[in-house]
């Protein structure tokens, strides 16, 4: 599907323009977001100082908002993987303007999600005991624990994603280095590693990108499976389910896509890239989102039918609380925004547009956050021995930190978009030399 060819110098102008200077709106937004993120940091500092009891978690709900946020953000990080890796591997041309934006989401979402294993610790000052290093106690970490799997998986995925983001950035940064001055020049020169555009360099880059696409796909599937296994390995009722690993991977791709659509719409409008992020792109992404919605529905239905049919008492207690009891408002809102809204807005071709895709995506983000909440909290509220049942409600600390992570994500993204072209310039340009 060919885009109307845009003259080459226009492409560069359009994609490089946002890098120069900072409008008032940009600065104000950045300041506001930084303030909210800072508030989250203060809340965390308060929590470290006074004790983790300032959060709302309690026995038996030992995991609350922080784990919901953790799973949520690691899920969002699958945006990049889907778009970049799968679409690179299948040579889908329409992905080109979208890849860097997606890869950036992945890296930042992983950084933010990776904070939560630290935030939820009771004694965060000894977090480094989770890393294997020779010590005077002669102790090593327990590699059997799913939390250790998390540590290795997220480290690997973060390393891979950063490399995956960086590699295609090199040629762009080399081009930019020829046209800037001052601190930007030094930054771009450093990052370009002396890229000169030789065929040897291009060849190596393309080979590396192809390999990385395959590897990162394998890693991404494993990462969210491992996050799912934090729950599935436990024998808590409704957690110990074999479906969790693929369910979470599907959910991650689903929420990642939604996050990507929202981010792209904002980029499109604020940076005036309407010619590069066209309705065609959004319609394709919308179709993918619809597909993931149906897949999510399939997994959800399979899981629920299995539980209901098995009628195991401890599981049915939680099941009832989710569908009819005190968690039912969240449950039905989740079903509505995860399935009904995308199905209607994106399934009916005439309704499919950039705006409806964004609305559906915002709904999906809310719905997927609720889905993680509904997986974690009801099960923990109703353990096997009823004498231990309890209720959970979040405190201001947890809410502040949750909101702050959204602000931090937006803030990191804004800074990134100011430093590097959010649409990959060298990938976008049509191969002029082909035309005779």
């Amino acid at each position: 599907m060919a885009l109307a060819p845009i003259p080459y110098h226009q492409v560069r102008d359009d994609l490089w323009r946002p890098l120069a200077g900072a409008s008032k709106r940009y600065t104000l937004t950045l300041a506001l977001l930084s303030a909210v993120a800072l508030w989250g940091l203060i809340a965390w500092g308060y929590q470290i100082h006074v004790g983790i009891g300032v959060a709302g978690i309690r026995r038996p709900v030992f995991w609350g908002f922080y784990l919901v946020d953790f799973v949520f953000w690691i899920g969002i990080s699958h945006a990049g993987t889907l778009i970049s890796a799968i679409l690179r591997l299948t040579d889908a041309d329409w992905r080109k303007p979208v890849t860097r934006a997606a890869e950036a989401i992945t890296v930042f979402a992983l950084m933010i999600g990776g904070m939560f294993p630290l935030i939820h610790l009771g004694r965060v000052w000894v977090f480094y005991w989770l890393f294997p290093y020779p010590n005077s106690r002669l102790l090593w970490p327990n590699f059997r624990s799913p939390l250790m799997w998390d540590v290795t998986a997220i480290s690997t995925y973060l390393t891979g994603s950063m490399i995956f983001l960086y590699l295609p950035l090199i040629p762009d940064v080399a081009q930019l280095a020829e046209r800037t001055t001052g601190w930007r020049l030094r930054l771009y020169k450093l990052l370009s590693l002396g890229w000169s555009g030789s065929d040897r360099e291009w060849h190596a880059l393309e080979r590396a990108m192809r390999l990385m696409a395959g590897i990162i796909l394998a890693v991404a599937v494993s990462v969210h499976s491992i996050v799912a296994w934090d729950f599935a390995m436990a024998i808590a009722p409704l957690w110990h389910s074999t479906i969790f690993a693929p369910y979470f991977v599907v959910g991650a791709i689903f929420s990642g896509l939604a996050g990507l659509i929202v981010a792209l719409n904002i980029i499109r409008r604020t940076m005036h890239l309407e010619a590069y992020l066209t309705p065609h792109h959004f319609k394709n992404l919308a179709k993918l989102l619809l597909l993931m919605s149906l897949l999510w529905l399939y997994f959800t239905f399979a899981e629920h039918l299995t539980v209901w049919y098995g009628n195991e008492p401890k599981e049915m207690n939680i099941f009832g609380a989710r569908m009819r009891g005190r968690f039912s408002p969240e449950f039905w809102v989740m079903v509505f925004v995860n399935f009904v809204v995308p199905f209607v807005l994106l399934g009916i071709r005439r309704l499919r547009s950039i705006t409806t895709a964004t609305i559906a995506s915002v709904g999906v983000l809310i719905g997927m956050w609720l889905e993680r909440y509904l997986i974690i909290v009801p099960t923990l509220s109703m353990p096997r021995l009823p004498a231990a049942w309890g209720r959970y409600s979040p405190s201001w600390v947890e809410i502040s930190i949750t909101v702050a992570t959204f602000a931090a994500m937006a803030m990191l993204y804004l800074i990134f978009a100011k430093l590097f072209p959010i649409v990959s310039v060298w990938e976008f340009e049509p191969h002029a030399q082909e035309e005779e």
Partner: protein, 229 residues
Amino acid sequence: MSEHRWGMAIDLDRCTGCQACVAACHAENNLQVSDPASAAKGRAVHWIRVDRYYEGEFPDVRVKYRPVLCQQCDDAPCEPVCPVYATYHNDEGLNVQVYNRCVGTRYCGNNCPYSVRFFNWFDPVWAEPLQLQHNPDVSIREGGVMEKCTFCVQRISRAKDDAKSEGRPLKDGDVQTACVQSCPAEAMVFGDLNDPESKVSQWAKSGRSTQLLEELGTKPKVFYLERAR
């Protein structure tokens, strides 16, 4: 194969639900005291608790009491999930909690099917003069650390030391956990399951012996004696 394998048996047909065991455990193990606000928030700590179940409608109501404490499971689900080995199985069959090592992920608390694990949400505070009542044999746990019943491991150690210095083997009844010692109905016994003559072994072998959530395969070492229903 270690010399000892500690176990406990509780006769539910004798238990009156008086909760002397709960009070004794608090005193022995320096458990924190909760105010009504934190108790309402689910922050109260009771290493042993008495679960009360009502069956039937008035006037045919039956109340059942079951003291629940850490079952010291041989295949404990809480152990493999701790990323730092803060809880592991020692060779006397105890599920030990190492306070110094715990980083506070609380995964073990989620995976315990008996809900016997408790977390220190803050550094504990005792109103004056309660801090004078502390047992010097038991460490005070700081905020951010998981804790649970230890089968009064400090009493086990002391009894072993005493027996060693007197040059004699431990005999049944030398080690009494605080809860067992304080039960007025003598509904609880504690001892060495490796010793076939010990009271706990005999109670465990009785026809009335059951285990809590046995179907989960955790292999608990607390035996509940109750009339076959």
